[in-house]
C-alpha cells in the first residue's frame, strides 16, 4: 500500500514540467563563456584592489607574543637523520659484498659433488667459511647472528631513507 502511494507520488511529480529559465538565458550564458574563456581566471582589477584593501582581517596585537610564548616552551622536533649518509651506506654494503665474494672465491674447493645444486654449493661454501672462522675461536652461530644483524640494520636504514624521501 505504502509502496503504491510512493509510486503514485513519484508519477505525479514526474508529470510536472521543469521550471523554464528566461528566454535570454542561453544567450547570457554563451556571452559569459565567450568573454571569459580566453582568461585562465578572470580578474577584475578594481574589485581586486578593493578586496585587498579591506578583505584581510587583522589580529590582536599580542597574538605574536602569545604564539612565541607557547613556542619557547616547545622543543623543536629534530628531523631524524640516518647516522650514516647514503653514500657511506652504499660503500658499506659494497664492501660487505666484496669481502663475502672474496671469502667464497678463496675458500678451498674440496670434494663437492658435480651433481650438487647451486643452493647446496652455496651452503657448503658458507659452512666452510664458518669453519675457517671457528679456527679463530668464533662459533658459526655468532657469524650468522652478525650477518643477520647487518641485514636488519641495512633494511632499517633504507626503509627510513625511503620513508623520508616520500615525506619530502
Amino acid at each position: 500500500m505504502a509502496a503504491k502511494k510512493k509510486e503514485n507520488l513519484k508519477m505525479l511529480l514526474q508529470k510536472m514540467e521543469p521550471d523554464a529559465p528566461a528566454s535570454d538565458f542561453m544567450a547570457l550564458v554563451m556571452k559569459e563563456i565567450s568573454t571569459d574563456t580566453n582568461l585562465e581566471v578572470p580578474i577584475n582589477i578594481p574589485l581586486q584592489n578593493l578586496l585587498k584593501q579591506h578583505g584581510v582581517a587583522s589580529l590582536s596585537a599580542d597574538f605574536t607574543n602569545q604564539v612565541m610564548d607557547r613556542i619557547e616552551l616547545l622543543p623543536l622536533k629534530k628531523q631524524e637523520q640516518p647516522i650514516i649518509s647514503k653514500r657511506a651506506g652504499f660503500a658499506i654494503v659494497a664492501s660487505f659484498l666484496f669481502i663475502s665474494l672474496l671469502f667464497f672465491l678463496f675458500t678451498e674447493n674440496t670434494s663437492t659433488p658435480s651433481t650438487s645444486t647451486n643452493a647446496y654449493h652455496l651452503t657448503d661454501q658458507f659452512s666452510k667459511v664458518t669453519e675457517q672462522l671457528q679456527v679463530n675461536g668464533s662459533p658459526s652461530l655468532y657469524l650468522i647472528v652478525m650477518v643477520m644483524l647487518g641485514v636488519l640494520l641495512g633494511l632499517d636504514y633504507y626503509l627510513r631513507y625511503f620513508q623520508q624521501q616520500q615525506k619530502a
Binding site: E40, L47, L51, H54, G55, A57, T64
Partner: protein
C-alpha cells in the same frame, strides 16, 4: 625575493633560532587568521586555529623542503587545523544566507560613492564577502587578496582546478554585483 627571504628565516628556525619565527609569524598572521575565519566563521575559533596552525608549522618546520612557498605550506596547515577544529568541536555556524536580509547593503537605497568613507567601504566589502558561501569566500581570499596562483589554491584547499575556477568565477560575479556602487 619574498620566497628567498622566507627561506632564510626558515633555515634560521631549523638551526634552532626560535626568535626568527616571529618574523614569519608577523608576516603571515593576518592572512592565516583570515583563512581560518572564513572556515570557522567565528573570530575566537579562528584565532585559536591560526595559533594552533602556527605552532604545528613550527613543530614540523624540518619537513618543509622549500618545494613550495612557505606561505602556501603554512596556509595548508592553518586550513586543515581549522577544518579539524570545526569537526572536533562541532561548531554550529549560522548560515550566511540566513543573514543576507539583515546585512544586504545593496538592498534599498544605494549609497553614493563620494559619501562612503574608507571604514564604510571596509564594512561593505566585509559584508559582501560574508554573503558568499564559505568555500567561495576562502577562494576569493586566497586568489584575489593573497594573490595565490590557482595551483597554490588547489594545494591549500585540496580542491580540483576546475572546481576552484568555477567557484572563483561565481564569487567574482556576485562580488561585482554586490559592490557595483564601489567599483
Amino acid at each position: 625575493m619574498d620566497h628567498t627571504e622566507d627561506q632564510i628565516y626558515v633555515d634560521r628556525v631549523k638551526n634552532g633560532d626560535a626568535a626568527s619565527y616571529s618574523f614569519l609569524l608577523n608576516k603571515y598572521k593576518n592572512m592565516a587568521y583570515t583563512i581560518a575565519l572564513k572556515i570557522t566563521g567565528n573570530a575566537e575559533e579562528a584565532e585559536d586555529a591560526a595559533q594552533e596552525g602556527f605552532i604545528k608549522a613550527y613543530q614540523a618546520i624540518h619537513s618543509f623542503k622549500g618545494n613550495s612557498k612557505f606561505s602556501t605550506w603554512l596556509y595548508t596547515i592553518v586550513y586543515r587545523t581549522a577544518i579539524l577544529m570545526i569537526k572536533d568541536k562541532r561548531i554550529k555556524t549560522s548560515s550566511i544566507d540566513d543573514e543576507n536580509h539583515q546585512h544586504d547593503a545593496t538592498d534599498g537605497n544605494v549609497p553614493q560613492l563620494d559619501q562612503i568613507q574608507s571604514d564604510e567601504q571596509a564594512k561593505y566589502v566585509k559584508l559582501a564577502i560574508e554573503k558568499l558561501p564559505k568555500t567561495e569566500a576562502l577562494l576569493v581570499t586566497l586568489y584575489y587578496i593573497n594573490e595565490s596562483t590557482i595551483k597554490e589554491v588547489c594545494e591549500i584547499t585540496g580542491l580540483s582546478i576546475p572546481n576552484v575556477k568555477i567557484q572563483l568565477f561565481r564569487a567574482r560575479k556576485r562580488l561585482e554585483r554586490e559592490l557595483k556602487f564601489l567599483l
